[in-house]
């Protein structure tokens, strides 16, 4: 029999694309899950909804799970939805034109060229900010970060209020298309060095309580992620068809390019202890989250009883 399940995701961006494909390709249904997908304002809001008990499952960045754990909330990660960074850095047209460094130069040189520029990111704590900021600090590059809603970034880029934006797709695409910007550092393509790149952009999560009382549902979810991985490998056209159902506003060529850029990242369901430790390490070195050092890493990962 099928179980109804409310799944809340953090945005309409492609970082959550795997979940939507799984829904529209019938993978969830095949595994006996009748999912209702709700889109929240941010990953933070998605996790909040999970905590409030109005959704059984949420998807958001691993740092949300850590932050919640630091405040005593027991949430476990069921699997990975998007490997690595889902965002990229786009420069405005006039700045890109002035650049002496070429687009194909090593990423460190491209980073150095950003010295003194004003770059917008969603927030000081966002998964897009932290890698870039850490990378810049490592190389003594001074970037002026300013924080704004991703939807406002292309407009700011066009009017020259910012020199560049660090955001996820499709905001970056709009930044390129509507404001004549240039894709400067491709985060989704894994251009950032390993030591600053996050392990994951989005993970599937639920409360410890729910996982304990519904091991069967959890099993089906994990199975769905594996099925997705397989489908991406075996049936790219089926995935694309599901994508055009999930994102009816996108045309064929956009779907193709989105698939090319993101599908590999959607197909990494395993989230390991090592990855959790790496994330915790980021959080601790930056001292962003009080009480993060008290977290027991094992408690964050769902373990099959």
């Amino acid at each position: 029999e099928t179980v109804p399940l409310k799944v809340v995701i953090g945005s309409n961006s492609f970082a959550y694309g795997g979940m939507r494909v799984a829904e529209h390709a019938g993978i969830l249904e095949k595994n006996g899950i009748k999912a209702e997908i709700v889109v929240a304002e941010s990953g933070n809001a998605a996790t909040t909804a999970l905590i409030s008990g109005s959704a059984e499952v949420a998807a958001s960045g691993p740092e949300q799970v850590i932050a919640a754990a630091a405040r005593g909330q027991k949430i476990v990660i069921l699997g990975n939805l998007y490997r690595g960074l889902s965002g990229s850095l786009v420069l405005s047209e006039p700045i890109a034109k002035k650049m002496t460094v070429k687009r194909d130069a090593p990423v460190v040189e491209r980073l150095r060229a950003l010295d003194g520029l004003t770059i917008a990111t969603p927030s000081a704590t966002s998964a897009y900010t932290v890698p870039l900021k850490t990378f810049a600090e490592m190389n003594d590059v001074k970037i002026n970060f300013t924080y704004m809603a991703q939807s406002a970034m292309p407009a700011a880029l066009k009017t020259g209020a910012i020199n560049g934006m660090m955001a996820g797709s499709p905001y970056t695409d709009a930044g390129v298309l509507a404001s004549g910007g240039t894709l400067w550092i491709d985060g989704t393509g894994g251009e950032l060095p390993e030591e600053v790149e996050p392990t994951s952009s989005t993970v599937l999560q639920t409360t410890e309580e729910f996982a304990k009382t519904n091991p069967d549902v959890v099993k089906r979810l994990i199975k769905s992620l594996e099925d997705l991985k397989e489908m991406i490998a075996q049936d790219p056209d089926g995935v694309k068809a599901a994508m055009s159902k999930a994102y009816p506003k996108l045309d064929k060529s956009t779907i193709d390019s989105v698939f090319e850029r993101n599908s590999a990242n959607w197909a990494q369901p395993e989230y390991t202890m090592a990855q959790i430790q790496k994330e915790l390490g980021f959080v601790k070195t930056q001292g962003r989250i009080q009480g993060a050092d008290k977290i027991v890493p094992e408690s964050l990962l769902y373990s099959n009883p």
Binding site: S11, V38, E41, A45, S52, S151, P170
Partner: protein
């Protein structure tokens, strides 16, 4: 000056004896609706031309593009469902918020001591930016329809509360005293004097609050939803579909417009005595004292 010109020039009198305007020989009314339509059409034209001329389509869309978006929205079959969702949340929120606001505003305005005592408290709550509460609301009320209703209700509550509170404080105390002398119980001075007296303020509160019920529902949908006009706007925003954003916004405007129209009809009924044209005529003339 001939009698004819005098008649043409004679204006609708306002005066120490106004209230009911005296009957005039002729009247030259330009239909207001037509004028408003003209203003509306010229605005649309300006929008279309600006958009075309400066190629601002991506940023401000254009009436034609918005229209096409509407058609698509309708054809996809989600329009009605979205409307239903948003209207349910906004409607319930409005009803809860305005009843609460009117009653509490009335009570605190009326019972002066209680009003003085609790005013700072309510003011503090009013000063809270509701948008900042959004995450807390998700925590407290989840992401279902309750969240949206509560959001709409709380915003409307304050709007209606404040105007009613202020209005009720203005009620002529002498009028009340006089009614008490005529034998009114405390309760009757409420129902027969204070409520009719402050009804204009309550209605102002409702007018101010009504669009905010929609805004509240929309913001609730921004925070978390999978359908509704607010969700469509957010979706359109994510794909930089400016026409879609405007289509959603215009949908909202149309809704609050309709609702405000209904409210205006109610207002006319409630405040009918301000403009009533009652037939003294025949009957009165017969009984000269």
């Amino acid at each position: 000056m001939s009698m004819n010109t005098a008649a043409v020039n004679s204006r609708k009198a306002t005066g120490a004896h106004e209230g009911r305007a005296p009957t005039q020989r002729k009247s030259w009314a330009v239909p207001l609706g037509l004028q408003q339509l003209l203003v509306f059409v010229s605005l649309l034209a300006t929008w279309q031309i600006t958009s075309l001329y400066f190629s601002l389509d991506f940023w401000i869309s254009s009436p034609v593009a918005v229209y096409q978006e509407f058609i698509r929205w309708y054809a996809s079959g989600t329009l009605l469902n979205d409307l239903r969702m948003t209207l349910t949340a906004a409607g319930s929120g409005f009803v809860i918020g305005s009843i609460g606001g009117a009653i509490i505003g009335f009570l605190l305005g009326w019972i002066r001591k209680l009003g003085d005592l609790l005013e700072p408290l309510i003011l503090s709550l009013y000063s809270l930016p509701k948008v900042a509460l959004a995450p807390l609301f998700v925590l407290w009320f989840g992401i279902g329809i309750t969240n949206k209703i509560m959001f709409a209700a709380i915003i409307v509550f304050f709007m209606v509360f404040f105007t009613t509170f202020q209005g009720t404080r203005q009620v002529d105390r002498d009028m009340i005293t006089n009614a008490r002398l005529l034998g009114a119980s405390k309760f009757q001075t409420w129902t027969r004097i204070a409520i009719p007296y402050s009804s204009i303020w309550v209605i102002t509160g409702l007018r101010i609050g009504l669009p905010y019920a929609l805004i509240g529902a929309i913001v609730g949908e921004f925070v978390a939803a999978n359908a509704g006009v607010g969700y469509r706007i957010k979706e359109a925003t994510s794909y930089f579909n400016t026409s879609g954003v405007f289509a959603g916004l215009i949908m909202l405007m149309l809704i609050s417009f309709t609702l405000l129209g209904i409210l205006k009809l109610i207002e006319k009924r409630v405040l009918y005595w301000q403009t009533a044209e009652v037939a003294l005529g025949e009957d009165a003339s017969k009984h000269i004292p």
